[in-house]
């Protein structure tokens, strides 16, 4: 899979309250929530962001709450992928569970600038900065997470698993 898009930059420790403030969580509707994406970090972001864009951030992206609404709004706003130096652990598993592509790369997180055009070769973990013609490597995705990605997320993976259990019980 090749992901290509324009970059929005954020700093370290972007928390889930910044990604989607809790005051809007009286609904779970992705489209409704996406109107408020990142608004406490950058008030104008919901207007500026375009489908196909990519977020690049520093360390500990998605820290704080367990709310799955965070990766959901990022996906719903049309953002194709997030690259960060590191991810908070619940955000990390949520992203894989719902099928939001995320990549850990300290070098890319440091060097890529706002508005750069980048290209991510998701299968090989290679990030190319089209603007500066530099290439970076993303940390390898653990085998189980690859399994989740190829299944299409945790719901599909669980469906398959339940089918196997049913077949084993009714040979």
């Amino acid at each position: 899979m090749l992901i290509k898009g324009k970059v929005w930059r954020f700093g370290n420790d972007v928390d889930t309250d910044a990604i989607i403030p809790a005051r809007y969580l009286n609904t779970s509707d992705p489209e409704e929530l996406a109107k408020h994406i990142m608004e406490d970090a950058d008030r104008d972001f919901p207007n500026k962001v375009k489908a196909g864009d990519i977020i690049v951030a520093g360390k500990n992206f998605g820290c704080g709450s367990s709310r799955e609404h965070a990766p959901i709004v990022i996906k719903a706003a049309g953002i194709q992928a997030v690259i960060a130096k590191s991810f908070a652990r619940i955000f990390y598993r949520n992203a894989f569970n719902i099928g939001l592509p995320i990549f850990e790369s300290a070098e890319a997180a440091e060097k890529i600038k706002e508005a750069d055009e980048i290209e991510i070769d998701a299968d090989n973990g290679i990030i190319r900065n089209v603007t500066t013609r530099k290439t970076y490597k993303a940390n390898p995705i653990p085998p189980f997470m690859q399994e989740l990605i190829s299944a299409g997320g945790l719901v599909e993976w669980t469906k398959r698993k339940l089918k196997v259990v049913v077949q084993e019980n009714n040979p």
Binding site: A22, R23, A41, R43, S66, F144, V155, T158
Partner: protein, 419 residues
């Protein structure tokens, strides 16, 4: 193996697990609230399972925006109620019977030592105080676990935090954990188990232990945990609804890091905006005026927390420039506070007492900050906009410091009131 590794091994049918190993483990209890359960419910339906794995091991608790603050919140709470009825779940807690999830479940003995618990709420790590492995996950994880009774985990590496020495007057679990987060940073324990031990922890009452494990997530931790002891035993003995197991870490357990703290040197501690790691001694913040004080939340809404605040407030008035909101975390705590006269003390001092709710902690309701307003709260997060307007500020402290600040109209310590 460490206590964390032992619990994970026991729940995945293995003799031994090692850090970074990926396992599928059986869960003892699954929880979700009115913010996270609606997504879990719709994902569960997509999975198409015929039934939930166990109707007595799933608990849905409307606590964040409950009592239902508006129509949308009411619709979300209704989803929990409807789903619980449809699948005959025995652990649904309606308003009037509920409490803040992480105060309610240990209090009711629904989480026991040795358990493996997942919850679609980041502060699920609270139950490590009982010697359980518990961690926050997402709604889809909860959906899958409701169908299968299992969840995938990467076995975390463990860091040991050793606390020794006598605690300063009015200092407690909140000060220890804020100091620790200040020391290691908001990702200082990323993906790791935080194991708390040492003579100070051995003497720390259960409410202080719950506060410490509750905030492990604020250092990025996967779980906080304390090896069960006499204090654990006396807490769970008359509450536990299921048999329990006390696990302990082996002497030759591997820790990636060991940190030690002399508690006599840990002052009353406050986390300043906008990160829980941004800590300063409370006594140095005397120039910070405040508009609101919140005593409550899953971190510090237990009876002993209210008692500490009431001891400071008793016979005094809240500063005229300040509003103080007290939120007992459960109905039982509310009633106990009423019987012991704490509610009278608060009302006499001109504070308000709310029904149990997460409410203002996450900027939901019951005490939202306007632009430019500042609060000191016994809650757990002080991110931008956490309690209201994005230009408002939250300082985090223990209940005694928050109560003293309410009287002083600025951040201060009980000593300033002659206590």
């Amino acid at each position: 193996m460490t206590i964390t590794e032992k619990i994970l091994a026991a729940h995945s049918g293995k003799k031994k697990v090692s850090p970074n190993e990926l396992i599928n483990a059986k869960v003892d209890l699954i929880l979700a609230n009115d913010i996270t359960a609606p997504i879990a419910i719709s994902e569960f339906k997509k999975i198409g399972a015929k039934d939930v794995f166990n109707k007595d091991r799933i608990t849905l608790i409307p606590d964040h925006f409950a009592p239902q603050k508006d129509i949308k919140a009411a619709e979300q709470c209704k989803m929990l109620r409807d789903f619980s009825r449809e699948y005959n779940l025995s652990l649904y807690f309606e308003v009037g019977r509920m409490g803040i999830e992480h105060a309610l479940l240990p209090e009711e003995g629904l989480v026991v030592p040795g358990d493996l618990v997942i919850g679609a709420d980041s502060h699920t790590c609270t139950y490590g105080a009982l010697g359980a492995f518990s961690t926050g996950v997402g709604s889809t994880d909860v959906a899958a676990a409701m169908a299968t009774g299992e969840c995938w985990f990467k076995v975390p590496e463990s860091t040991k935090f050793i606390y020794y020495g006598k605690l300063n007057k009015w200092a407690g679990g909140k000060d220890l954990i804020l100091h620790t987060i200040g020391d290691i940073g908001v990702d200082g324990a990323l993906y790791r188990a935080m194991e708390f031990e040492g003579e100070t922890i051995g003497n720390l009452p259960m409410h202080g232990r719950l506060t410490m494990c509750n905030m492990a997530i604020e250092a990025g931790g996967k779980n906080g945990i304390i090896v069960p002891d006499k204090i654990t035993k006396s807490y769970v003995r008359n509450r536990a609804k299921r048999p329990y197991i006390f696990y302990k870490s082996d002497k030759d357990s591997h820790y990636v890091e060991i940190r030690e703290y002399d508690c006599s040197k840990i002052p009353l501690t406050v986390a300043c905006p906008h990160l829980p790691s941004n800590v300063r001694p409370a006594a140095e913040l005397f120039e910070v005026t405040i508009d609101q004080v919140v005593i409550g939340s899953c971190t510090n809404g237990r009876f002993e927390d209210l008692l500490e605040a009431a001891t400071v407030i008793k016979g005094r008035k809240i500063n005229p420039n300040v509003r103080m909101i007290v939120i007992p975390a459960t109905q039982k705590i509310y009633r106990q506070a009423m019987k012991k006269g704490l509610l009278d003390i608060f009302i006499e001092a001109e504070a308000v007492v709310s029904t149990p709710t997460c409410g203002p902690c996450l900027g939901g309701h019951m005490g939202i900050l306007a632009k430019g307003e500042r609060a000191i709260a016994t809650t757990n997060r002080n991110f931008v906009g956490r309690m209201g307007h994005r230009e408002s500020e939250v300082y985090l402290s223990n209940p005694a410091v928050a109560a003293a600040s309410a009287v002083l109209g600025r951040i201060g310590i009980p000593e300033e009131l002659g206590l």
